[in-house]
């Protein structure tokens, strides 16, 4: 690490000022780096496989290919959804948070618990993935009962979640240790963002764990039926915060890592913490907006969840302001003024910036389409159409994934202590991804407005007139998807090439976090009290769900037997 870098961080009020010089920190680095690298490479591999299934789906829907019976479309779609939504993101995020915490607080004890967590996640992933690939769990990543998969699918998914709890425990323990040593100090901001997100994740995953406690005995044949609408509600209690799990991790990179690409600062420590606390509170009590069109849930509960969903406007607007302010402040310091000049001045040729930067552009549109989906009255026009698929590809598939990839282009060289392999290819991967995602998601949104259903292998409906307008959009989506898949391929090449082609060097720059702009004044200590915020988040979740859950539990006594319809 260069002397200048240390000097820059010494002025850093995050509380991590003296850590780079702490010998215990140096000792923990080597082991910690290998652990984080393992998480990131696992995510990379999963992304590559998931993208292959994604592009084949695009080709199937465009009627360019027909998947064979031994590897049918729906099996592949399930694998794509599970690998991308549940596995790729989760491994990347657990790696990122491990990194953020180990680098801002010295790890003085064993990191074994984190390794055990990783292994449990990996075993669970393999168990679930092999069950899907063998055709015994063609139930989509939402696994709505009474579709009944092999027990290994549910067990594998449960292990994946349990593994994240172990990783979370390791990270949280480290932060608790820090707070005991330094009761008057705020948590370092990277550790704060990580722990705040993990608390949200733990609260959210309680829902899917409860669902698994119903589904596992049922799939094993120990119980004869399940309450279908209750399992759906438990799934979406988890399913929407899952989205915010990705977004909070991406926000952490936007707030704390992206400014390092242009020598910028974090706009405000207090407002960053406030944004994360707001997301912790507002992530969970909103899941029923995914069930707007479900029978058996009174419309009043749906309205309540819509209002709470829209509350996310506050942290979203705060984040947009903070990120753009961070751009402008740094640009002005460099003597650059005027909107277009500032945009041009940003390091668009640096892969660590271009990915998140392009992602931010996509996210503006993702936010708009999200407002439609979560609207009580407009959702009926887009629910379960290709519009929804377009929406989550320009939110998780665009901004989140591009941000992770951009961060990986910094993280992997730093952790592997190797230069980035083929930097031009790295840059190309992001621009191809961006362009492909614009084409693909536009086609998907359009198809959705024309009524094309999602999760359907063939939208021709035997040549029915109502379906005639859908085919062209599916071709557009397949073309865009091809570009995205090429982007993923190039990313995988760069990420693996960095490790296997380039030699180890000792002087590679570490991925530092940006210093905080201190002119915003001190942070109110209450923002750092995550225990209290967690308690409030649980109260909000209980208030939002007590009524609708009671309705599902008391409505009737029908318990559905499992069915295998594939």
């Amino acid at each position: 690490m260069s002397g200048q870098n240390i000097a820059a961080r010494t002025a850093d009020p995050m509380g991590s000022a003296h850590w780079p010089d702490d010998p215990r920190f140096a000792l923990s680095r080597e082991k910690g780096d290998l652990l984080v690298l393992t998480h990131i490479y696992t995510a990379t591999l999963v992304l590559g496989v998931g993208a292959l299934f994604g592009v084949l789906q695009g080709f199937s829907r465009a009627n360019w290919i027909t998947m064979p019976d031994w590897f049918d479309y729906y099996r592949m779609l399930t694998a794509h959804g599970v690998l991308m939504a549940l596995v790729f993101t989760t491994f990347f995020i657990t790696g990122l948070f491990t990194y953020a915490t180990y680098r801002s607080i010295p790890r003085v004890r064993s990191i074994r618990l984190n390794w055990i967590g990783y292994v449990v996640m990996l075993v669970g992933t393999l168990m679930a993935a092999l069950t899907i690939l063998s055709g015994n769990a063609t139930v989509m990543y939402t696994f709505y009962a009474p579709l009944k998969a092999s027990p290994f699918f549910y067990l594998g998914a449960t292990l994946l979640v349990a593994g994240t709890w172990l990783v979370s425990a390791d990270i949280i323990e480290n932060v608790v240790w820090f707070k005991k040593q330094n009761p008057k100090q705020l948590m370092p901001l990277p550790a704060f963002a990580s722990v705040c997100t993990l608390i949200m994740w733990i609260i959210a995953t309680l829902g899917v764990t409860a669902e698994m406690l119903i589904l596992i005995p049922w799939s094993l044949g120990w119980t004869s039926g399940v309450n279908v609408s209750l399992t759906r509600m438990l799934f979406w209690y988890f399913g929407h915060p899952l989205v915010y799990f990705w977004i909070m991790a991406a926000y952490m990179i936007w707030y704390l890592v992206v400014p390092t690409a242009f020598g910028g600062t974090v706009f405000s420590d207090a407002l960053t913490r406030l944004a994360f606390v707001s997301l912790l509170l507002l992530s969970t009590p909103v899941g029923i907006h995914h069930e707007f069109l479900d029978p058996g849930i009174s419309s009043g509960w749906k309205f309540l969840h819509m209002v709470l969903t829209y509350g996310v406007v506050l942290p979203s607007f705060m984040t947009a302001f903070a990120i753009f302010a961070s751009f402008e402040i740094a640009a002005r310091k460099a003597g650059v003024t005027g909107f277009l000049n500032i945009v041009r001045w940003l390091p668009w040729r640096d892969p660590a910036f271009a990915g998140p930067g392009l992602g931010m552009i996509l996210f503006i549109f993702g936010g708009f389409t999200g407002i439609v989906n979560s609207s009580y009255s407009m959702d009926v026009l887009v629910h379960n159409t290709m519009w929804i698929v377009g929406h989550f590809h320009i939110t998780v598939g665009g901004p989140v994934a591009l941000t992770f990839i951009g961060a990986a282009y910094r993280l992997v060289p730093s952790l592997a202590r190797r230069r980035l392999f083929a930097p031009q290819l790295a840059l190309l991967s992001e621009y191809l991804w961006f362009a492909g995602m614009v084409v693909m998601s536009t086609a998907m949104h359009w198809a959705g407005l024309l009524g094309a259903p999602r999760r359907t292998s063939d939208v021709s409906y035997f040549g029915a007139a109502g379906a005639a307008s859908w085919h062209g959009q599916m071709v557009g989506a397949a073309l865009g998807g091809t570009l995205v898949a090429l982007g993923v391929l190039f990313f995988v090449i760069v990420a693996t090439g960095t490790y296997f082609t380039n030699r180890r060097e000792e002087d590679n720059p570490a991925l530092a976090f940006a210093p905080v702009d201190t002119s915003a004044g001190p942070t109110p200590p209450v923002l750092d009290k995550l225990g209290r915020w967690a308690a409030l988040a649980i109260v909000l979740a209980v208030l939002a769900y007590a009524g609708p859950m009671t309705q599902q539990l008391t409505a009737h006594t029908y318990l559905a037997p499992g069915m295998r319809t594939w």
């Binding site: 579709l147 279908v228 058996g296 506050l314 607007f317 094309a452 109502g466 004044g521």
Partner: protein
């Protein structure tokens, strides 16, 4: 905690937009009835074939230009497969499933609802134009999901 005056303005705009959205949706819900399908009515999926009116699925005329259509959804078709109504008819659909989760969507109309076994879904629509409307299942229900469709003929 210091908040820059531009940020205060920006957040105020955000909160005002939020209030406006919710007010519009609330007024539309209460005043115009723009409420997502939320029928709360139970049924035993194992006994659908014996439960009136689903024991005889199909169309019932209930008034001048007013119809009720009872549908049973099961893998991978709807019963009835076709209904025919005159232009200008207001049709209230009642749908239930005998097996797994299904969808019930007529593209280019506001008809779109989930069909969950154990519940009766309901949604209404006035068909103002003549034509043959495709009705599709828009929730994955199994290997033949892409063939699960029916027709609404308006003439």
């Amino acid at each position: 905690m210091h908040i820059h005056r531009f940020e205060r303005l920006w957040l105020t705009i955000g909160m005002a937009m939020l209030a406006l959205f919710i007010a519009i949706i609330g007024v539309a819900a209460i005043g115009e009835g723009f409420v997502p399908p939320s029928n709360v009515q139970t049924i035993d999926p194992a006994k659908v074939a014996q439960t009136p009116p689903f024991d005889h699925p199909g169309l019932r005329k209930v008034g001048d230009h007013a119809y009720e259509a009872y549908y049973v959804a099961h893998i991978f078709s709807y019963d009835p497969a076709t209904i025919t109504v005159p232009v200008g008819s207001r049709v209230t659909f009642y749908v239930t499933s005998t097996d797994v989760e299904h969808g019930f969507s007529i593209p280019a109309t506001g008809v779109n609802t989930m069909v969950t076994p154990g519940w009766v879904s309901s949604v209404s629509h006035t068909f103002k134009d003549a034509g043959t409307f495709l009705l599709v299942c828009n929730e994955y229900c199994g290997a033949g999901h892409q063939t699960m469709a029916a027709k609404v003929v308006v003439q």
